[in-house]
């Protein structure tokens, strides 16, 4: 362990360097990930968020491949390359763009291992960004983790900090199933503890962000920080919150959530996905089916308004789940005592 801080963006960049140096089969594919392709003397840009900075210089453009703006063909190419022995990390600039190439993800990537009856594994990581809060508007701000997690065969991960982002990326390259790694744009610049060598994460293993006896809050991605801020305020009122970050949406670590709800009897899911048939609904459904008898209050989901993401700053802020909503829900739930 070193006691310094790093950003998610730097952590992923370091993990990519480690993987590409260790294994010739790891390649990167995407739009502008090197940058400046076809421009004489260009230094490149290293991705629109700078996450793939320096990779082309270190490993060459034969392994760090800039593509045309043509998601169906290059995501499909990455899938075919994975099926034939490479370990591609392919970038889709914004998860909204998955609509362009959804067949390749829904019907090809997700189904190959099953259709081959386990003869073909798919070590493939599709890196993409998610999330609102930066004024990018309706087509560059979506949170599609719930939608993607409903497809059998896809591993879906939403890291909330540097170590998880790097560790999950590395885990995806060792997994037989394709992983979609949703990196929250709003977290790229946020710092968290750096870890030596960025150990490989365990897919499907959640973690406790904070411990408490009164209310369980489940959150992923950027919502973990919102939950932490709410927990601080609630602690001042004497309400102790236990925050769980499941890290992967599919598979979901229900065990860690149940272990907490059995203690608290109260569950809030704060999520940036849709408030209907999204991740929050999935967690609440799984918990109520597993341990209905321990609930002291009706579980609550705190999700965005059911509209596309608005553009103007104040409208966008009103659209996103807020600290106040969490505090209000927590206070209401503390007054409910169904189980007692």
């Amino acid at each position: 362990m070193v006691s310094c801080q790093t950003t998610i963006s730097e952590a992923i960049n370091q993990a990519l360097h480690v993987e590409m140096a260790a294994d010739d089969k790891v390649i990167c594919i995407g739009e502008d990930i090197a940058g400046g392709a076809g421009v004489d003397g260009s230094e490149g840009i290293g991705g629109v968020f700078g996450v793939t900075m320096g990779l082309a210089q270190k490993f060459g453009r034969a392994r760090v491949i800039d593509t045309p703006i043509s998601e169906t063909s290059f995501v499909g190419m990455a899938i075919g390359a994975s099926m034939t022995g490479l370990k591609p990390v392919v970038e889709i600039m914004f998860c909204d763009f998955i609509g362009v190439c959804f067949d390749q993800i829904l019907n090809q990537a997700a189904k190959v291992r099953f259709l081959s009856n386990g003869r073909i594994n798919m070590p493939l990581v599709i890196r993409t960004t998610m999330g609102a809060g930066d004024g990018s508007g309706a087509m560059h701000s979506a949170s599609l983790h719930g939608l993607l997690a409903s497809v059998p065969g896809l591993t879906v991960a939403c890291p909330s900090n540097a170590a998880d982002a790097a560790g999950l990326l590395r885990a995806g390259l060792r997994s037989p199933d394709p992983m979609i790694l949703l990196e929250h744009k709003g977290l790229y610049g946020k710092s968290s503890d750096a870890v030596d060598e960025w150990p490989v994460a365990v897919i499907g293993e959640g973690r406790f962000v904070s411990r408490g006896d009164d209310i369980t809050i489940v959150a992923v991605g950027a919502m973990v920080r919102v939950a932490e801020a709410a927990a601080k305020k609630l602690a001042l009122e004497g309400i102790n919150v236990e925050i769980i970050d499941p890290r992967t949406i599919n598979p979901l670590d229900l065990k860690i959530i149940i272990s907490s709800v059995e203690k608290t009897g109260r569950l809030i899911v704060v999520d940036e996905g849709p408030n209907y048939i999204g991740f929050a609904d999935g967690v609440i459904s799984a918990v109520t089916q597993s341990c209905f008898d321990v609930l002291n209050a009706a579980p609550r989901s705190i999700c965005p308004l059911s509209t596309p993401v608005p553009y103007a700053a104040m409208a966008e802020a009103a659209w996103l789940p807020s600290l106040d909503q969490i505090i209000e829900a927590a206070n209401t739930m503390m007054s409910e005592n169904y189980g007692k």
């Binding site: 491949i65 994975s82 979901l252």
Partner: protein
């Protein structure tokens, strides 16, 4: 080559009988009419380094590449011992060990996957090619057009093979395509574009050999090969939309044309007849054996459920 094509024709015939007998779980899309073209293509490839992806109509291709016919038949009939133990079926045949990476239930979706196989071959420097086989029905899919552009932009060792049988399901390709010169279209992407007459097995072999040779050197190539579709879109399809001349006239059958050519070139009719009968008997026997195999059931799917279950508590 004649024997292989005869076997595929007989295999499809035996499957049709199995379908009639209720042994096939769903619908089957037969490749009748394309056998000679597909055997000619396979002839130009090396299953050790090359990978082919195909459409929903790929029984002939996977057999031409050398997959075990019994495992193919069991897969199509949904039986244990099929290529994927009967979980995948007729539209999802997978035999990478024979150079057949996968067929596909989505029209045109197999084409980017072949670009991926080509990328692997290029990165590994193994000298292989990725081959995407699709029909005129897929010619207007974005996945196909995008892949053609990508192959040229990234200089991938890809061969695009378009079997033009004139129909996408019941719709004529002359109706569906704005420009009906597919070679012109491919050439405009910067591909080397070639044409082959699927009724002429020698020409087909030559064109494929030349195309594969170019593709191996990272020059992506497009080949349009004309083949008839001797049955409907799927077996049992109402083919009233097809003109009379298109329906099983022996002069419109490349296998018949090949047989006549071989006879005229000196192979005796009785030798050709005996090859055909032998392959027919073999195909009937293979499909019969597959029909008697154990049907895939709850155990097989439950094992997968454990592996892919999302909520783990």
């Amino acid at each position: 080559m004649f024997g292989k094509a005869c076997f595929i024709r007989a295999f499809e015939g035996a499957l049709a009988r199995a379908y009639d007998a209720g042994e096939v779980p769903g619908l089957v899309h037969l490749c009748t009419g394309a056998e000679v073209a597909e055997v000619a293509l396979a002839d130009a490839l090396d299953p050790a380094v090359d990978q082919v992806t195909g459409s929903h109509r790929s029984h002939g291709l996977v057999l031409a590449m050398g997959a075990d016919p019994l495992a193919v038949a069991k897969e199509i009939l949904g039986r244990i011992g099929g290529l994927s133990d009967g979980l995948a079926g007729t539209q999802h045949l997978i035999a990478p060990e024979n150079g057949f990476l996968t067929s596909n239930g989505i029209v045109g979706a197999q084409v980017p996957l072949a670009a991926g196989a080509a990328l692997t071959a290029k990165v590994k420097g193994a000298g292989g090619v990725g081959v995407a086989v699709f029909g005129d029905g897929a010619a207007n899919q974005g996945a196909v057009l995008e892949s053609m552009n990508l192959a040229v932009a990234l200089e991938l060792p890809v061969l695009f093979v378009m079997e033009n049988n004139g129909f996408g399901q019941s719709t004529a390709s002359t109706y569906a395509s704005g420009s009906t010169s597919f070679t012109q279209r491919a050439a405009s992407f910067g591909l080397v574009a070639m044409q082959a007459d699927g009724f002429n097995h020698i020409e087909s072999q030559q064109v494929f050999a030349q195309a594969v040779k170019k593709a191996r050197k990272n020059t992506p190539v497009f080949v349009e090969i004309s083949v008839p579709r001797l049955d409907g879109h799927y077996y049992g399809d109402d083919i009233s939309y097809m003109p009379e001349a298109h329906m099983k006239d022996t002069y419109d059958d490349p296998l018949h044309v090949m047989r006549q050519f071989l006879e005229e070139s000196g192979t005796s009719a009785s030798v050709l007849e005996s090859i055909m009968l032998k392959q027919q008997a073999r195909a009937v026997q293979v499909v019969a054996e597959a029909s008697s195999a154990i049907k895939t059931g709850p155990l097989e799917i439950k094992a997968w459920h454990q592996s892919l279950e999302a909520v783990r508590g």
